[in-house]
């Protein structure tokens, strides 16, 4: 039997993501939800996930510290970036952090690009499923350093 992984879905409206839970569970992946930035950062400090899927529009209860003024200016508009940034600092590799949003803009692409994460626009579930498949099939131990 294949190894069971866990994934963190950071999204404030899980009701709309039951399909993604079903899809991940069909791949033997356990799903955990975080509905705020604070919740996601706390969960990341407690659990090492196989990968993360992060909505850029997610509530922040208390502004996380340790971010530059420039970062905060952008991250206030797209709070999911706090999660992506924290994840990268915790050692999650580039493709282990998938961020998505309804909107595509240069500002978002640049901010996500600086974190070297995967960025997808909402509204195309097949794209997200494809990315999930590729991340699950990717074996970092076979990667060249």
């Amino acid at each position: 039997m294949s190894e069971r992984y866990s994934v963190l879905l950071a999204d404030d409206e899980p009701f709309y993501l039951e399909w993604l839970s079903d899809y991940l569970e069909s791949k033997n992946v356990e799903v955990e939800y975080a509905t705020t930035v604070d919740d996601a950062i706390k969960k990341m400090s407690e659990t090492q996930y196989r990968f993360l899927i992060v909505d850029l529009n997610i509530p922040v209860i208390s502004e996380p510290s340790k971010f530059s003024k420039d970062q905060i200016a952008t991250y206030k508009s797209y709070p999911g970036l706090y999660i992506a940034n924290t994840a990268r600092n915790l050692g999650y590799r580039t493709r282990q952090v998938i961020v998505y949003s309804v909107f595509a803009s240069r500002e978002i692409e640049e901010a996500v690009g600086r974190l070297y994460c995967t960025y997808l626009t909402k509204g195309h579930p097949q794209d997200l499923k494809r990315e999930v498949d590729e991340v699950l099939n990717y074996d970092p131990t076979k990667d060249k350093p």
Binding site: Y16, W19, D22, S26, N57, P59, K122, G123, P125, K129
Partner: protein, 252 residues
Amino acid sequence: MPDSTGNEVEALSDSKDTKFDFGLLANFVHQVINPLNGVSGTLGNLIDGATPPAKQTQRLRAARAQLEHAISLVRNLAYFSQISIDPKNTNPGAIRKTCVMPQTIIEAIQFFQELAYSRNVAVELVNRWDQFKVEGNPDLLRQVFMNLVDNAVKYSDKGSKVEIEMREQKKSGGLIVAVRSKGSHIPIAERKRIFELGYRGESAKKVVASGTGLGLHICQIIIAGVHNGSITVESSTSGETEFLLRFPEFHM
């Protein structure tokens, strides 16, 4: 501009509210894509066989609820455009029917059963057998209750109860409908602006990051402009929030 009942109806097309607002449109798009994305994902899973058979019926129900939610959001925009462009066509003089309040409210509640179930929130019309009736526009009133129930379910605490109650206001002889929920406290500064077009309070943003800022504005237009009533909100520091709708006249 006086309408057929002699009331002043402001043409919103003359007011600053109808200046094309791209921010509002962006929020609207964001809100409507979420449920549609859910429907698309659910159907994809059913086609691909990724949904376990035991969950298929529930997932289809959820997809239907998501689609209805998307339609409800589009309806808000449609009503807003309609009222903005031609307020006379939506006032009670133009479309005047008897609205059976419990029926209208129950129809609105039914749209949010799946969302309420997913959040473990119970929605109850307390005195459903009292046949309060008002003269007005049933479709618009249902939209008002859909917006209020949607918000109540979305922003209330998990495991809590949303209660809707109708009662006669002895002093004025009018009808009051109260929508009560338990969640985050809405500070007075936010309550003052809560019915403004495009406004979303910080307390709401801490629960759900994005919203149209259109729903409550539509409620106010429909209640005040179309039914000659009023809508207000109260919120205690313990997080009990009550929207009160007042109708000047009713019959049984």
